[in-house]
Symmetry: C2
Subunit: 115 residues, 2 copies
């Protein structure tokens, strides 16, 4: 598959695919005689995984380290679980912060309404 086809199937731009490659998220594909990138269909799925992980709050850098892990690591969940748990704690800390901000904003509102 050429880059444009992968882009269309994955629903992302071609520049994004090159960007992911540069960032180590996608393995450098083989090249045709003309220098064009030659992708396997698997690439489309990897892009989907990247987007799912991103949506779960993982940064591209974190995702790159996951994808760089040997496949055997991926097979046993024990290797992933700690990362997910850490991210969960991170999210919880963030939630607490934002909830405090929300309270402060409501207090400010009450203060303003009172005058």
């Amino acid at each position: 598959m050429k880059i444009g086809e992968v882009a269309q199937h994955a629903g992302v731009s071609t520049s994004r695919l090159r960007f992911y490659e540069a960032k180590g998220l996608l393995p450098p594909p083989s090249r045709g005689a003309n220098g064009y990138r030659e992708y396997e269909f698997r690439t489309v799925k990897i892009v989907g995984i990247i987007e799912r992980a991103q949506h779960l709050g993982f940064s591209l850098k974190e995702i790159a380290t996951f994808l760089a892990m040997p496949p055997e690591q991926w097979k046993n969940p024990d290797a992933i679980i700690p990362h997910v748990e850490a991210k969960l704690r991170e999210i919880d800390a963030h939630l607490r912060e934002v909830q405090k901000r929300r309270r402060d904003l409501r207090d400010l509102l009450a203060e303003l309404a009172q005058r």
Copy 2:
């Protein structure tokens, strides 16, 4: 007051004060014969207001528009309240998003633990 004194009283760096000035958050102070900025003490308080607003979730751009409002606007809370309410709704939307992310992460964790 010279910029270093303001910085010390406000607990920020001098470069930050120049940055805030460039961004329209602080009015350009008068200059001494040597070209040094000459601040009034009021500036220290404005920096405090900026930080408080920032902590409440307002961007510097938003804060700049508040600070650019004529003082009479600031006197009646009715001019501020809508902005605070809007920010509150924004925060709530963000909270819902992050809470969904949290649930998705927990689901992933359960999924992983099950295998």
